[in-house]
């Protein structure tokens, strides 16, 4: 249980990587952009992949009526997410410490993982909802109003995951370094749970034998 608890402490700490590294990365390449434009989505805002990328993406997007990319103060998520992450890290570390001291069982470990997963899925849902809005809620006076072959207005929602062709741009959206820190950290808590679960059995067995001999 001690080893499991240490892993349970390390796991949530890895989420702190989200404060240094982007969660998600969207790259836009086109024939005239051999060096693609890109945005890094951090938990506290959207930033350039290379300097001036956001400005240049906005510059291109205005032709098709997309709004400017949000500044951190434009979306509540960018102030809330860091608090949620910090809170979850604190809770996770606390659970690990209590586990180490034998105050809580390994079930708390998986409990933390489930809560974090739910929050993660909610976050993804929210992120996707923003992208839908960003890509479809277009300026009615846009310079270029493009339609799909069926006559519906073209949407410019970037893919949540993977690649999409949007006009002359190839858009690739993938988890970035921060997300890998988060996934690894969360997986470690699952590992901690399994170790705790296995350990608990052997402890029980040992205890029973003890009772038998005494």
């Amino acid at each position: 249980m001690k080893k499991a608890s240490i892993i349970m402490i390390i796991g949530p700490l890895l989420l702190l990587g989200l404060f240094s590294f982007p969660l998600w990365n969207i790259i836009l390449g086109a024939p005239q952009y051999p060096e693609p434009l890109g945005m890094n989505i951090h938990i506290d805002g959207i930033r350039d992949m290379n300097e001036f990328d956001l400005q240049n993406i906005d510059g291109l997007n205005h032709y098709i009526g997309m709004r400017s990319l949000p500044k951190p103060e434009d979306m509540w998520e960018f102030s809330t997410f860091p608090i949620v992450i910090l809170g979850m890290v604190a809770v996770g570390v606390l659970v690990g410490l209590l586990g180490f001291l034998g105050k809580v069982s390994h079930k708390w470990f998986i409990g933390w993982f489930i809560v974090m997963s739910i929050l993660g899925i909610l976050g993804m849902y929210d992120f996707n909802a923003w992208m839908v809005d960003y890509g479809t809620n277009l300026d009615p006076n846009a310079i270029m109003k493009l339609e799909n072959p069926d006559g519906t207005p073209m949407s410019y929602k970037p893919p949540l995951f993977g690649h999409a062709k949007m006009l002359n741009f190839d858009v690739t959206s993938l988890p970035a370094k921060g997300a890998w820190f988060m996934f690894t950290g969360m997986m470690l808590t699952v590992v901690a749970f399994f170790l705790g679960w296995k350990n608990r059995k052997s402890v029980q067995v040992k205890e029973t034998t003890k009772f038998a001999t005494s």
């Binding site: 060096e35 300097e51 001036f52 400005q55 240049n56 510059g59 032709y63 310079i143 270029m144």
Partner: protein, 654 residues
């Protein structure tokens, strides 16, 4: 099962056929060496690929430098230096007009000759390239991160600034000699009193190590010969500079005959470190002079011109041991120093042979005081005592020599129209290749440094004739590219060059490409009329001067409509390009502009002066196809009669 076997056999058969085809192909390319090394293959740079070398080729009477790639011979850019350039507005915009200021006023043109790249420890360092204006003596410094001219300094007491602009091995000085001797100081005197009265100035211009700023430190006032070309010593001869001379006869009329009478002219060897020391210790004479010093600031995007009022001149006789003459046959033209600094090559343009002097022998002769008289008090060393060897070339009219860094030299022969490869030390001719036609300079990347990149040589010809499709009487010049990586030179490409290329300078692409600037940062723009955000755009009037603070971004001007301008006004359009993306310039053109359009790079501000002469509503537009909505990038200026009361207003989108 049988069927199955049949298929297997068939598959085997096909694969055997395929593989034998492949082998055949391989065999062809390996056995037929000649095919695999055609010029086309060697000079071919596939679409999207980059060249191995940059070549900076002087434009001669275009006044500019053109930038090429080698081995493809593709032209990338023309850098305006001494000439007005409507393509970008250089010399037309308010910011760059001061660049072409001189003591003669605004001189919108020059004759650019000899580019030279900055060096550290004798090796190319790729910070700047320098070039001389031959006609109105000037030296320019061009940045190799922006590929723009940053500084031009005029040279007083000089005329026909030809033995220029060569730099010393740590870029301490850029050196400029006069081809035409003149009265110093200039005065009203009979031309036939030339002899003994005219003088030749050799100018030493220091280069600040941090920002490249030029300063004319001193001028050595030499006898009235013609100082034709020069090169720095390097390695062991660092601290010396060598100048070829002709017209040591000091003739002043029918020069082609009268200045060709002496069997030998001189190479002047100047110990500039000695003269530098002399000047540092207060030597030399401060004399009145008038010359312009023009500096362009990358952050204000603006040039300023300052008129300097004096210069230090040095009489060579006052610095004993600093200057010697090395007799050199037949009006030598090119003066070249090998990568080790040991050999000084005089290319006697009216002879068949090359004269090679030895630096060691020169020092020994100086120490042994083996003089053969003097010229105006300057000791002449004995020809035999300094001679290292003679190349019996078999060609005629040697002009210039470059080196491959592998012990070989390559000399151009103007009259016999060829490049001759010979070996340093043995003086033996190893190879010769014809050029098309009448080659002047040649260039090996790094050829004027301690570390040449001896892979290609470019021959820069004076006569084109039938090399390309005819274009009337006036033709561009032709250049040939030779692969010199093998024992024999191999002609691999023929390409036209712009203006009249004299010398050129080349360097490996990776020395410059990573540092090439992509944009100017808007947040570093210190132009006094810059508009840093579109809401700062405005139009102001001061008397009859109207200043339009205008920003551009894809695809509009802010503001786009202006009213209240009157006939007789001077309207200054200050255009700031708000793009911060690589290769997104915007242009600006106004109907009836008496200057030129502007091409404004991202983050840059440029100003065009427009003096409306007619009442009406006059459009302006973007000249660079900037975006899909480029054609919409336009605006109007309403011009009212002089004295009318139309208020000054400006709008965008309402």
């Amino acid at each position: 099962m049988k069927k199955y076997r049949f298929y297997v056999l068939m598959l085997l058969g096909i694969s055997a056929l395929l593989s034998s085809c492949g082998n055949q192909g391989d065999g062809k390319s390996s056995s037929n060496g000649a095919l695999s090394s055609t010029g086309a293959e060697k000079s071919y740079v596939a679409p999207g690929e980059h060249d191995e070398f940059y070549a900076f080729i002087s434009g001669g009477y275009s006044g500019n430098i053109t930038v090429y790639g080698l081995p493809s011979g593709r032209m990338f850019k023309e850098i305006p230096v001494f000439s007005q350039f409507p393509t970008s507005g250089y010399g037309y915009s308010e910011e760059t007009k001061p660049m072409l200021n001189t003591s003669f006023g605004f001189v919108p043109w020059d004759d650019s000759h000899h580019p030279d790249i900055s060096q550290t420890n004798g090796e190319l360092d790729g910070r700047w390239i320098f070039i001389n204006g031959n006609n109105t003596p000037r030296i320019a410094r061009v940045s190799l991160s922006t590929f723009e001219t940053e500084e031009i300094i005029e040279l007083p007491n000089s005329a026909g600034n030809h033995s220029s602009s060569f730099i010393t091995e740590n870029t301490e000085y850029v050196v400029a000699g006069t081809r035409f001797s003149v009265p110093i100081p200039q005065r009203d005197m009979p031309i036939n009193e030339y002899k003994g009265n005219f003088k030749g100035a050799l100018s030493f211009i220091s280069i600040a190590a941090d920002n490249g700023r030029l300063n004319l430190e001193f001028q050595l006032i030499m006898p009235g010969f013609n100082y034709d070309l020069s090169h720095p010593g390097r390695g062991k001869s660092h601290g010396w500079f060598f100048f070829t001379t002709y017209n040591t006869e000091e003739a002043n009329t029918l020069m082609e005959v009268n200045s060709s009478q002496n069997d030998k002219d001189f190479i002047a060897a100047v110990n500039w470190k000695m003269v530098e020391e002399y000047v540092k210790n207060g030597g030399g004479t401060k004399v009145p002079a008038e010359y312009a010093h023009n500096v362009y600031d990358e952050h204000t995007h603006t040039a300023t011109s300052t008129m300097k009022k004096e210069v230090i001149t040095v009489n060579p006789l006052d610095v004993p041991g600093a200057v010697y003459f090395l007799p050199t046959p037949k009006s030598p033209h090119g003066c070249d120093v090998d990568p080790s600094g040991q050999y000084i090559i005089g290319n006697g343009k009216l002879s068949a042979d090359l004269t090679i002097h030895s630096f060691d022998k020169m020092i020994a002769a100086i120490e042994g005081k083996k003089f053969d008289g003097d010229a105006y008090g300057i000791p002449i060393l004995k020809f035999e005592d300094v001679l290292a060897g003679v190349v019996k070339s078999g060609g005629l009219g040697p002009l210039h020599t470059e080196f491959d860094g592998k012990g070989n030299a390559y000399t151009t022969f103007f009259i016999s129209s060829e490049v001759v490869k010979w070996e340093l030390g043995t003086w033996e001719v190893l190879d010769r290749q014809p050029t098309f036609y009448s080659v002047g300079h040649l260039m090996i990347p790094g050829g004027n440094s301690a570390k040449p990149f001896g892979k290609y040589v470019v021959a820069l010809n004076k006569i084109t004739k039938d090399r390309y499709l005819p274009t009337g009487p006036e033709l561009e010049h032709s250049a040939q590219l030779y692969d010199i990586s093998g024992n024999k030179m191999e002609l691999i490409l023929d390409f036209p060059t712009h203006g009249e290329p004299h010398y050129a300078a080349g360097c490996p692409a990776d020395l410059l490409a990573p540092n090439s600037k992509k944009i100017y940062r808007l947040d570093e723009n210190k132009h006094p009329y810059a508009v840093l955000t579109p809401d700062q755009a405005k139009v102001t009037r001061e008397g009859n001067e109207v200043h339009v603070y205008m920003s551009t971004s894809r695809s509009h001007f802010t503001p786009d409509n202006i009213e209240g301008v009157k006939v007789g006004d001077k309207v200054y359009f200050h255009i700031t390009n708000h793009e911060q993306d690589f290769d997104f310039p915007h242009g600006f053109a106004m109907i009836g502009q008496n200057t030129s359009e502007l091409l404004v790079m991202p983050g840059q501000t440029k100003t065009s002066l427009w003096e409306p002469k007619k009442v009406g509503v006059w459009p302006f537009y973007c000249t660079d196809f900037c975006s899909a909505l480029h054609q919409e990038m336009q605006g109007y200026v309403r011009v009212s009669p002089a004295g009318s009361n139309v208020p000054l207003t400006y709008t965008l989108g309402d």
